[in-house]
């Protein structure tokens, strides 16, 4: 695909604000994020959703790490309030799931998940604080959902979400038992293999297209 303004140059990025396709000439970079000429933050600050984090020179990664040991507080320290709440909710859900009857037999798994998530939170806060100190604009939902849409790639994330949603819904409506389904888990391996095969095959067909995709926009 080529740039609408410079029909000869290929598109290398998209504007973070309006999604406009951009070539190297049209691309403007502000604070590590790609914008088009029209939406450079210095000219037009996006009004209803201002990036909550300012260029706080006083954000200390070490302090962020320490505060991150308290669920949610590390993200709040980084000015990411929604993420903080999401962290607290996830942490609480994990704990209440572990103690509920629903996970009978899987308590060790959930215990490990809690431990991993608890360790994840301070490290996440540490890295976010470091990026903020370097002057990068940190997105409110950074690293909560790292699924970025790459045009042309197989939409694995959305399809996985839909499948999981359907599975849980059928389970809750008592039309299907997840425990029964678990014994068919090797199907997942097969699915993964088919998916990888698909990626390889489509990669062979259009080798040029893939390399363009990887210079994608948002950090």
């Amino acid at each position: 695909m080529n740039c609408p303004i410079h029909p000869d140059s290929p598109v290398v990025a998209y504007c973070r604000t309006c999604g406009q396709p951009l070539c190297t000439e049209c691309r403007r970079i502000a604070a590590g994020t790609v914008y088009c000429q029209q939406h450079l933050p210095a000219i037009v600050p996006p009004s209803p959703s201002p990036p909550p984090s300012t260029f706080a020179a006083g954000s200390s990664p070490g302090l962020a790490f320490l505060l991150g040991l308290i669920p949610g507080v590390g993200a709040v320290y980084n000015g990411q309030y929604a993420k903080g709440i999401v962290h607290v909710v996830i942490f609480g859900l994990l704990i209440s799931l572990t103690t509920s009857e629903a996970v009978r037999g899987f308590e060790p798994l959930f215990g490990m998940l809690i431990a991993i998530f608890y360790i994840y939170m301070p490290f996440e806060a540490y890295h976010t604080a470091r990026r903020r100190r370097l002057g990068e604009v940190v997105d409110e939902f950074s690293s909560i959902l790292p699924l970025r849409s790459h045009a042309g790639r197989f939409p694995a994330g959305p399809i996985l979400l839909i499948a999981l949603g359907l599975l849980f819904l059928l389970h809750n409506l008592e039309l299907l038992r997840i425990e029964r389904l678990l014994r068919y888990w090797p199907v997942l391996l097969i699915g993964l293999g088919v998916y990888m095969l698909y990626c390889r095959l489509s990669g062979y067909r259009k080798p040029g297209a893939k390399s363009e995709e990887h210079q994608d926009v948002n950090p």
Binding site: R16, T17, P48, A82, K83, E101, R104, E174
Partner: protein, 520 residues
């Protein structure tokens, strides 16, 4: 440049008009309104943002990267948490419980008023039918040696001031009317707004042999000595005893259902129940629905059918008793063929059952000890769990037991033959005549032991029994216990594990019945 969103101003306008409304007419209570209607804030919010974005797009304004920013999601999550909490408080009002005392109420809005319902009498027709409509509160119906129907009780409601309360009281008269052989009793609580939380606690005395039907929305029922009883309600509890005819309960949520002494047939359909107790019923008993607490069934003279999507239990007669909760089924003296199947984990222990059994659980231990006098075909299947079968020494049976991964313990000696199948599976077969016994587990041990015939008194000692350990919070549950038998069939010891689903708990020798346990 894009115009700014209208959600903030709209929320402010909404909040302002609500507060204004509250100062003008304080009756419903702000928190109550919020607790009930807060999801519509979210719906409205989402709708406004959606329309705005579509409008911006049509006007070719630049679109925001995210329709709803992080700060907004924070506010939304907080609204969800607060709204759910308030809704829970609204829904589980303590005054909806059986016998709740007025002073123990959780007072949020207004004051509580109480009125006495003046006593009303009506000569009852012979073979009367009584229909009671009482939406909220408690209804107590007692059959007695009398020729008239007598109604008395009290009514409670909550209001902001006296005039409103007495107006509401006048609007909800208790009416007792007669129409041919049918008597209708109405409390008319639906005539006032539900915010007043009006509830009636009525006591009705009727002649014995009255057929009663009670319709409620959120009420508890106590009934005794009637000819038949039918109760339908969205939520509530029901206690009934001595009903000489059919009994039918159709309930949404039910904290407790108790039925003692009934001729039957009994039909109890519950969407979501907690505890259920049915005892001494002569006719057929049909139970449907989920029970999160304990089911206790005892002395049923007719066939029993219990069914929900996950679990089915059928048997012909129950001279003994059955106790069942989400993870356990314990039964003594059942007359079968017993059929039990569950698609979830469940430990099954049946003692002295007649005419065979067919047990199939997703996982869990199965322990079977059929009555020696009336053996029948036995099929037991679990995906993961131990199976133990105790058979009389002289019994004729054709056994085939298979464990895909586990050990086989054979106490019958050379009568049975153990072979291995594949790498891990073991099969125990033996016997040529008699009833077929099929045991199958994917993972777990299989024990086939001798059940020596013992005198009845010792037999009673040997049957495993419920052991209470201290007081436990919440719904009482059967303790997970396991009885270990010595080779001569006497009790060697009892293992009690506090944790559920542990396949081999650390032994806690709690009691030994006359014998010294082998590990002491």
């Amino acid at each position: 440049m894009r115009p700014r969103s209208m959600v903030g101003p709209l929320l402010l306008i909404g909040l302002g008009s609500l507060l204004l409304l509250h100062t003008l007419r304080p009756q419903p209570g702000l928190l109550a309104i919020f607790g009930r209607y807060w999801p519509f804030i979210l719906i409205g919010w989402g709708l406004v943002r959606l329309l705005e974005i579509v409008y911006w797009r049509i006007r070719r304004f630049p679109l925001p990267a995210y329709g709803i920013s992080g700060a907004e999601w924070t506010a939304i999550i907080l609204i969800c948490l607060a709204g759910s909490a308030l809704h829970a408080v609204e829904r589980y009002r303590p005054w909806d419980r059986l016998g709740a005392v007025a002073s123990r109420r959780l007072e949020l809005f207004g004051r509580s008023y109480e009125y006495t319902i003046a006593e009303q009498r009506l000569p009852a027709p012979t073979a009367a039918r009584l229909l009671v409509e009482n939406l909220r509160g408690t209804t107590r119906i007692t059959g007695a040696e009398t020729q008239e129907i007598r109604v008395s009780g009290r009514k409670t409601l909550r209001a902001v001031h006296d005039a409103e309360a007495s107006q509401a009281d006048r609007n909800t008269p208790v009416e007792l009317s007669r129409d041919a052989d049918r008597v209708v009793l109405r409390t008319n609580l639906d005539r006032v707004a539900s915010d007043l939380a009006a509830s009636a606690h009525i006591e009705v005395v009727v002649p014995r042999g009255t057929a009663v039907e009670v319709r409620s929305r959120n009420a508890d029922l106590e009934a005794s000595s009637l000819a038949s009883l039918e109760f339908s309600s969205e939520s509530g509890s029901a206690r009934a005893r001595n009903i000489s005819g059919p009994v039918r309960f159709i309930l949404g949520r039910a904290a407790l259902i108790s039925l003692v002494e009934a001729t039957g047939p009994v039909e109890i359909a519950v969407r979501r129940g907690r505890d259920l107790e049915v005892e001494a019923v002569k006719g057929a008993v049909t139970l449907e629905g989920y029970y999160s607490g304990d089911l206790r069934l005892a002395s049923l003279g007719g066939p029993l059918r219990f069914q929900n999507v996950q679990t089915t239990l059928k048997l012909q007669k129950l001279p003994g008793r059955i106790q069942m909760d989400l993870g356990d089924l314990t039964g003594v003296r059942l007359e079968g063929p017993v059929h039990f199947s569950s698609s979830r984990a469940c430990d099954v222990q049946l003692d002295e059952f007649a005419q065979g059994a067919e047990i199939s659980v997703d996982s869990g231990d199965i322990r079977l000890r059929p009555a020696p006098s009336a053996l029948g075909p036995i099929h037991a299947r679990t995906r993961s769990g131990d199976i133990e079968l105790a058979l009389p020494e002289q019994a004729a049976f054709q056994l085939r037991a298979r464990t895909a991964r586990g050990t086989i313990f054979n106490h019958f000696g050379p009568l049975l033959r153990e072979t291995s199948e594949g790498e891990r599976a073991s099969v125990l077969t033996g016997g040529t005549t008699g009833h077929p016994m099929h045991l199958e587990t994917m993972r777990g041990s299989i024990t086939v032991r001798k059940d020596t015939v013992a005198p009845p008194s010792r037999s009673a000692d040997r049957s495993p029994r419920q052991i209470e350990i201290g007081a436990r919070k919440g719904t009482p549950r059967a303790q997970h216990h396991r009885v270990r038998y010595a080779h001569d069939g006497t009790v060697a010891g009892i293992l009690i594990s506090m944790r559920r689903r542990t396949s081999l708990p650390p032994p806690q020798p709690w009691a030994n019945a006359g014998q010294r346990p082998p590990w002491l």
